[in-house]
Amino acid sequence: MRAPVSDVPISFENVTVAAGAVTILDGISLTLNPGTPTILIGPNGSGKSTLLRTAMGLVRPSQGRVTWGGRENVPPTRRAIVLQRPAMLRRSASGNIRYALRASGVGRTEQQSRIDELLALVGLGQLADRPARRLSGGEQQRLALARALARDPAILFLDEPTASLDPAATKAIEDIVHAVSQRGIKIVMATHDLGEARRLAGDIVMLHRGRVIETGPAAAFFNTPQTGEAKTFIAGELLV
């Protein structure tokens, strides 16, 4: 008997990621547990995307190690990611979700009901047959969310899913994220939008120049930030 593979908790132990001479993540130690959403904040280039991609297993640490449920090199089974610029497969909206369902081993008979359910969740039921690449930016983000959820994840990584969206499209995404979190799926989301962080966060991880500057429950972080960088960032001043 093999022990069931689990994706959570995810632990970073002194993880460094370097690309050539550039250090992107610098000695990160962090544990992501089930629970309320964890929001990664920090300026552009602080390492948010790389941290998410490393937690997903798409990037290997140069030093240190990442464990999923206590084990290294666990292929993604119950974790999923919405990339900053999701690639739309050259298929219909429902075809994209069907692909993800098939990849995670959902049987043919079950697929159609899951597709209908997921498209309804993200409000794309009317556009099921539209080629995914013909959808608007906001619609593509929602389809990417549905496609990630098709993997029935225990933990879902979101990389600035609302970065280039207008307020209405942003609200649509945030409502879905909220609903997904209520279902018990752990959300780990990167954003540089403080308003969004306040609206969604259970707790905050602040990154700057590849290091974790400050972590803690959202209320404490926003009301009584401990570090100079966090104070500067929350005050809306330019943190460089």
Partner: protein, 230 residues
């Protein structure tokens, strides 16, 4: 029998000898494209996805092979299939099958090289998503070929254009035998050297019309498919 009738007359009356020549040309070139696709698409996809030492050199050589001189390919296939050659026992020299083999050798590198480029570009776009969905190597190749299918049609068309237009390879291995291995291009070469210019011009026009028609058909299919699948 094709006599001294004018080009237009032959085309308009559907001269049986001319139709046989057109038919054989299409059979040879289309068969060669199908065979070359069966070889070139998997090879190109594998080359796009598998990293190994010397890969860059293989890509350079493959790209260079797109410009293989047809007469050299014809000569090589001739030597291989001639009675004393390694494949001489097959008895294929001066048959349509020999012509299909020669054109397959010409077209396969074109399809493989264009497939490699197409699949590699798509892989860069899809890589993180497919890794995140835990898609294995076989699934990756299948997904990339399927999602690139409309671009791959262009590779097939390039291969067909090459096959339909060339004369050097098939005239050597086919022998331009009247009623057996005579195609449009070999007939044009023969009739021009004999001085029967109207027939050569007529065949030339038919050839161009066919190439345009095949491209138009593929273009229409591609547009329709893209509208449905994005």
């Amino acid at each position: 029998m094709i006599g001294d009738a004018s080009a237009l007359q032959l085309v308009l009356t559907g001269d049986p000898a001319l139709l046989a020549i057109v038919r054989l040309s299409l059979i040879v070139s289309l068969s060669a494209v199908v065979l070359a696709a069966l070889i070139g698409i998997p090879f190109g996809a594998a080359l796009a996805l598998i990293q190994f030492p010397g890969r860059q050199a293989v890509i350079v050589v493959l790209n260079a092979l797109m410009g293989l001189p047809p007469v050299v390919v014809g000569l090589a296939v001739f030597l291989a299939l001639s009675r004393a050659g390694p494949l001489g026992s097959w008895g294929l020299l001066f048959t349509p099958k020999a012509m299909i083999i020669a054109q397959t050798v010409l077209v396969a590198p074109i399809i493989a090289a264009l497939t490699r480029q197409t699949i590699e570009d798509l892989w860069l776009e899809y890589r993180d998503e497919l890794n995140a969905m835990n898609v294995g190597p076989v699934g990756r190749v299948a997904t990339l070929i399927w999602d690139a299918r409309f671009s791959l049609v262009t590779a097939l068309l390039a291969g067909f254009g090459r096959a339909a237009a060339e004369v050097g390879a098939i005239i050597i291995v086919g022998g331009n035998i009247d009623g057996f291995t005579r195609t449009m291009t070999t007939a044009i070469a023969l009739e021009t050297s004999k001085g029967d210019l109207p027939l050569a011009v007529g065949l030339g026009m038919v050839l161009i019309v066919i190439v345009i028609a095949v491209n138009a058909l593929a273009w229409t299919a591609r547009r329709a498919g893209e509208r449905m699948a994005g």
